[in-house]
């Protein structure tokens, strides 16, 4: 065992163990203050990176005479005016551009990317049990989500009441699969911290 001599590794180990203390000690002061420190650093890093980007993408082009970006820069500055009392409505202009921009960009391709392509993928030749199960299962899941009182009664009359119930069962299988992989994901992050403590800090 060769404990690390690097002060940054020691600091990281202290932070790690302080946060772990929350698991066994709900009111751990180490956890509270270390968490505040890390949140502060995280916010600070975001500002630093954002500032560097503003330098590269806004200040440098403007000082080089590229004024095509003046409109988005003004809109961006309007976002900051919201903190002046009585003028917070001004921020609605850039928010309108951002919200509608994201919506417009996403809408155009959503129908193709998520609707048409997935329906195509679900409509396979019904020449195997898997394909039949996938087709019926897809209809069942969609039926489950479109359930309203009117739809339920209509489906019962058509002797299709079992379809949304089957959809629920298919969904349970999917949620079980999601849970199984979620456990793996969370464990891997914990193992990563333990690897740091054992290998980088304690030198085992």
């Amino acid at each position: 065992m060769q404990i690390s001599q690097d002060p940054i590794v020691w600091l990281a180990a202290f932070v790690t163990i302080s946060i772990f203390s929350f698991v066994f000690w709900n009111d751990s002061p180490f956890y509270k203050y270390v968490q505040s420190a890390y949140l502060g650093v995280a916010a600070g890093v975001t500002v630093v990176v954002g500032w560097n980007n503003i330098k590269n993408q806004v200040i440098t082009p403007l000082t080089n005479g590229n004024y095509t970006i003046i409109i988005p820069v003004l809109l961006g500055l309007l976002l900051l005016i919201r903190y002046i009392p009585g003028l917070n409505w001004v921020a609605r202009y850039p928010v309108a551009v951002l919200v509608a921009g994201g919506a417009g960009l996403g809408l155009a391709n959503t129908v193709q990317a998520q609707f048409v392509s997935q329906i195509k993928a679900g409509l396979k030749p019904l020449n195997s049990i898997d394909n039949i199960l996938m087709f019926v299962g897809l209809l069942a899941v969609i039926a489950f989500f479109f359930l309203t009182g009117k739809t339920t009664r209509a489906m019962e009359r058509m002797k299709l009441g079992w379809l949304p119930r089957f959809g629920r069962i298919v969904l349970m299988v999917a949620f079980g699969a999601s849970f199984g992989t979620t456990v793996m994901g969370r464990c891997s992050i914990l193992i990563g911290r333990l690897q740091f403590l054992l290998t980088d800090f304690l030198g085992l």
Partner: protein
């Protein structure tokens, strides 16, 4: 002016960007290219807004010495130190690197790693085979847990095969249904935003 003009802007921008994908009309296409590049720059300023918000929440708490003001002080001090060193001394200097590698990296990953403890204890205490659906969920979860790790294959080569079938057939079917239905919801919500039928994003009363 306070509500009408933003709604009109949203309509023009949203419809313009959407129609740009379907219509070849030089002025529309050129304008769409410009607006797409504007979004990147406006988004940059929104990051600064988020950081400013954080200070506006914590500084009054520190001034009034109320509640968890000591923790707020720690947060603000570290935030300002990081900003000062990062902006004026660059991101490669020793102090900024110490904060990044010694506090941010271990802090962030360790907080996320706590979920492993909670998910394990929650699963042990609440995962019960009470009905057909919960039993199915439980069995699928156990099968996937075993097939996702190397010990599953070591116990039996059937486990990864079954896990692969569950993932590619019933799971994929359900997820496909979720993708299709959620895409309809996405289209509905965003069309309502663009057409001004939903104005929640405007916020405020005036």
């Amino acid at each position: 002016m306070k509500r009408t003009i933003p709604i009109v802007i949203a309509f023009l921008v949203g419809m313009g960007l959407m129609l740009d994908n379907f219509i070849t009309f030089a002025p529309l296409n050129t304008a769409a290219v410009s607006v797409r590049s504007w979004l990147v720059i406006i988004a940059l300023f929104s990051i600064m807004v988020a950081a400013l918000n954080l200070l506006l929440v914590h500084i009054p708490r520190i001034k009034r010495r109320q509640g968890t003001w000591v923790q707020s002080s720690v947060l603000v001090v570290f935030m300002l130190l990081t900003i000062l060193t990062g902006v004026f001394m660059g991101t490669k200097n020793a102090v900024y690197s110490t904060f990044y590698n010694g506090i941010l990296t271990p802090g962030s990953t360790t907080v996320n790693s706590l979920l492993a403890f909670f998910i394990a204890s929650a699963a042990v205490r609440t995962f019960r085979a009470r009905s057909l659906e919960s039993s199915l969920l439980l069995l699928t979860a156990i099968l996937l847990m075993l097939s996702n790790v190397t010990i599953g294959n070591a116990i039996s080569s059937v486990i990864p095969v079954m896990g692969k079938w569950v993932t590619n057939v019933p799971n994929a079917t359900a997820q496909r249904g979720l993708i299709i239905t959620s895409s309809l919801a996405f289209v509905t919500i965003n069309l309502r935003n663009i057409l001004g039928l939903s104005t929640q994003w405007l916020g405020g009363k005036d």
